[in-house]
Symmetry: C2
């Protein structure tokens, strides 16, 4: 049966939703695909649900073809397995938690590693049962702090999550590669531009992991790529450890008065004016900036940490948090507040020095403050710096890393810049933004160990299973498709994902127009073409065309004035081009046009 | 692609799950269709998910055919609309509640009237937009106190819930009838025995409502039917108000000593022995039993109520609770505890009298105790009773309703018995148990009024919309189908709902057996027949046959010893009958057998 605008549960809107920050949110709302029920929580109207289901089906087909079996877990889960693995704590405020009538703790699951692990433990016991790949397409929950991007980043959202179970590392690698290939097929079939980048594991744990990113200005992820093909999430870019420098010629460190130099720029100016360097002027790259941050650990503990990095680089707290060097799990890292700094008298804001000065009393620097001091890996051993002395208005000059001070460790803290060399030597990096639409993890044995998933190996010995986990943000994928397929008048769906194949606009007075539109609708539906018919009797042509453009069915057939001359008009929503067709050819020509669009996308028309 | 037992994510079990009280729970667990994740919360394994989806699709097709449009709401909803309608309180402990990171109240929705109402208010504004019918197939939550029946009564479950919106009562009636017919088609197509009964509205509110009950011993609902076709949930059976009796000949009420008569039986004996009645012996039906109950109202208030009913009837607290006379919303009614009774010195346990005695001082009865006193409607005006006097060891005789005492109202409190007359005069009632698989409500304007859903009528006047709500317990329907289709060896699915059309058991040694089984599998799959192939290489025939019977695919094809003589064996899991087929005819004969089963069910084979 065709969809009919006269009865379809949809209303288009002229106004953008309040707080909408991205085009997909604005357009899916205005075109009546979704409605907000609460911040980050959406209701799917008929057109939205149709597109969503078509996306899900492509994912389902490819998962099945890759040998993964569909199951379905509850969204409401007991807390206990998540307590066992530590994620009950790691997830912090991001996880919705509740109690049942007997006061037992439950969660709304953000992801299902724990219970998949337990299910396999329940059913399987031998290496002969493996490998196994199982997946679900299911509702997930994550209490985002700032849910303002519609279905791009909701608090209730749909994910496809898959899990692989293998007896050994080689098996895991093979399962991972199978899923990787399935993801490539899925995103190819969806017609979604993407690239794979190295990523960090975050709260998931695990070792090898890649993200599938859809390049987009609205993305929350920054990624890099090099001419030689290196790609990574900016958080996962590693800085090669530089060779130690020869510091035999560096004069001894000395503390100098540098009044009124709270910033790098004022410090460089003062250094050049009053303490010039012999060989060349000082630059910001000669200063060591020591940034005080607060790390909020998942268990609630708050820790001050000082991070040293070259003064010509901004600090990137997401990189620092994602590196794992500041703490495990879902940590939050923020600049320390004045109050937090004031609580440590050893720290003088604007003049903070390295925490672990080897010859602190001589230099007037404090020794260990009890605060962790980490260095960005760019700070080479033997490198020579101007840096704070932990005394107001004074800096230390010619302080050498390894000679005069040490660190408690390294942390990837400096921003990555366009032009930085790729860590694999494949050339200068380019930066861009993207949306994470999928991520694949070689989890390893973390979950199986924590939850006791063992099977008997061929020698009858109990062996811990190794796992992978593989996610696709289904609702987010739909948002990305909308982001990448619209203009200022509305959505423009890829033909194979559109809520209908053809939008027939019946416009103009006279019963014969609507009658012909109905006839063409019936003929197309008979041939398996999905029609959305605008049969509203008292709606103006302007409103009808505006709605057709907003709704975004890519093929539009206008039955109107031309009918008197025996023609209808076929419009391509993507290009804006149109041509008149003899009404007798309309069905065949429309089908041929639609099928060509499917074909371009490597897809086939399947009806509803 | 066929399913293969060698790789299918399923394990059959010999042991029933702990606490399993119903066959569907035991068998779906043992056959590997579902696994418990928490009390009343289940994971769906591949076979279970397949059957569930087939059921969902039948429901979806009929809902669409009835002109209802599919949408999808969140499960996680803000509390506010439920606070506005009062259901935030009414649902009490049955509703899962939680807070988000900003301390806002949320619920896991047990049903969605409020947000459907708000969505229509958001989109629609005119009578021209109506009627509208929208539905979803979605996960619901209800924190059952005693979740022990598997998916028959889970805490996370799937419902189809639909809502109709009309401008007037005639429209609502028409929408209700359309849904009623759709339900009849759905349950007919599912092959599920059912009957429709009048029901009570409970927490939903609304007036006209019917339940679709599946007759089953494991049902929690008791229903009645009469030879003349009256059917009702036992809670909804109304007792016609009897004609007032002539009490002019009844002697004046008097209080008598009746020591040691705490029960009806001892009272009747004592009455006949010491205070005989002139015309005939006293019977239990002459005694008025006054039962003290505690009503727990949804707002947490606990109220003592005394209910009077004939002494020859047991009290049915579910009927009393469902009648609405004790309080609105999801009340809980229980016998009062000794402590609660003791807190009211006016109440003497075992000798409780009517609370509102007209001439209390004369009779020695207490007057109003401040406790509500309600009478079962069977207690006619003018009827004559022996009842408690609120003094230990004393009863009052010849106390006449309306002459000597009154009530604060009536409540349907006496049990319904087989043989009671149907309220519509259609003969004696028969009692049976059933499972509620669907319920349809004429909600009226309760939700629209509370939430301000108004549209302009043809005269431009704002009019409150009238609504219906229509539910089907999808997972519960699957449990009922399993309840009604099994034997002591396992499940026996109706052909059109089974996880596969044919279960091919390859049994016996020799490569040619498995090769032939594979060949037949491929040939059947090519013809759109869904095959589950037992290709496990080292599994005994006994285990394979046992598993086939447990899993319950209704058509079994055995490829085994007979192959040497050129035959395979086709088994009907329902009847246990089998016949040998020449292997050359196996594909055609199997298809013909399967199609005949589909046809008996009014269904057509559709492939996956």
């Amino acid at each position: 049966m065709p969809l009919r605008m006269s009865t379809l549960f949809v209303r288009t809107l002229k106004e953008d939703p309040v707080d909408a920050e991205v085009a997909s949110h604005r357009l899916l709302h205005r075109a009546g695909y979704i409605r907000r029920s609460a911040p980050g929580i959406y209701t799917w109207l008929p057109l939205g649900l149709t597109v969503l289901r078509r996306i899900e089906n492509i994912i389902r087909e490819e998962m099945n073809a890759a040998g993964s079996q569909e199951v379905h877990f509850p969204a409401l889960l007991p807390a206990e397995p998540y307590q066992t693995t530590g994620r009950w704590v790691d997830y912090g405020d991001d996880m919705f938690r509740l109690k049942d009538r007997r006061d037992n703790d439950y969660i709304l699951a953000p992801t299902h590693e724990e219970v998949f692990t337990l299910l396999v433990k329940d059913l399987y016991s031998s290496y002969k049962d493996l490998p196994l790949s199982i997946y679900q397409i299911q509702t997930k929950y994550r209490d985002e702090a700032r849910p303002r991007a519609g279905i791009l980043r909701g608090r209730e959202f749909i994910m496809k999550d898959a899990y692989s179970f293998d007896i050994d590392d080689a098996g895991l690698k093979a399962s991972y590669e199978t899923m990787r290939q399935a993801y490539i097929r899925i995103f190819d079939r969806l017609g979604l531009e993407y690239l794979t980048v190295k990523a960090t594991a975050g709260a998931m744990g695990g070792s090898e992991t890649e993200e599938f990113l859809h390049p987009s200005e609205v993305g929350e992820d920054t990624f890099v790529r090099s001419p030689g093909g290196y790609t990574a999430n900016v958080e996962a870019v590693t800085t090669p450890t530089p060779e130690p420098l020869d510091c035999s010629d560096v004069p001894p460190a000395r503390v100098e008065d540098t009044p009124d130099t709270p910033t790098i720029a004022t410090l460089v100016d003062a250094a050049n004016a009053r303490h010039p360097r012999a060989d060349r002027p000082w630059t910001a790259a000669d200063t060591l900036k020591n940034v005080i941050v607060t790390v909020a650990h998942p268990n609630g503990e708050r820790e001050l940490v000082v991070i040293g990095l070259p003064g010509d680089r901004e600090v990137d707290l997401d990189r620092a948090a994602g590196s794992g060097a500041l703490g495990a799990g879902e940590i939050e890292v923020a600049p320390a507040t004045d109050a937090e700094i004031a609580a440590h008298p050893g720290l003088v804001k604007g003049y903070v020095g390295p925490g672990n000065s080897i010859d602190a009393p001589v230099l007037g620097l404090q020794g260990s403050t009890g605060i962790r001091f980490l260095l960005d890996p760019r700070v080479a051993l033997g490198s020579r710096w101007i840096t704070g002395s932990n005394q107001p208005g004074r800096h230390v000059f010619d302080l050498v890393h390894g000679r005069d001070f040490t660190a408690d460790g390294t942390v990837e803290a400096a921003e990555v810049r366009a032009g930085d060399p790729a860590p694999d030597g494949s050339g200068p990096l380019e930066l861009a933004r993207g949306v994470e639409i999928g991520q694949i993890f070689q989890l390893g044995r973390r979950y199986a160990e924590a939850l006791g998933l063992q099977v008997l190996d061929p020698n009858g010995k109990r062996t811990v299973v190794t796992m992978g986990s593989y996610g696709i943000g289904v609702t987010r994928v739909m948002a990305c498709i909308a982001e990448g397929n619209h203009d200022d008048r509305g959505l423009i769906w890829p033909q194979h994902l559109a809520p209908a194949d053809v939008h027939i606009v019946a416009t103009g007075k006279g019963e014969e127009i609507l009658a012909k539109a109905e006839e063409l609708t019936a003929a197309l539906e008979d041939r398996g073409v999905r029609v959305l018919l605008d049969d509203r009797p008292k709606t103006s042509p302007g409103v009808k065309f505006g709605d057709a453009e907003l709704l975004g069915v890519p093929t539009i057939l206008v039955v109107g004035r031309g009918l008197a001359e025996g023609t209808v008009e076929l419009r391509d929503r993507r290009t804006g081009q149109s041509r008149d067709l003899p009404v007798a050819d309309a069905v065949a020509e429309t089908i041929s046009f639609v099928d060509a669009r499917y074909s371009e996308l490597g897809a086939q028309r399947t009806g509803r």
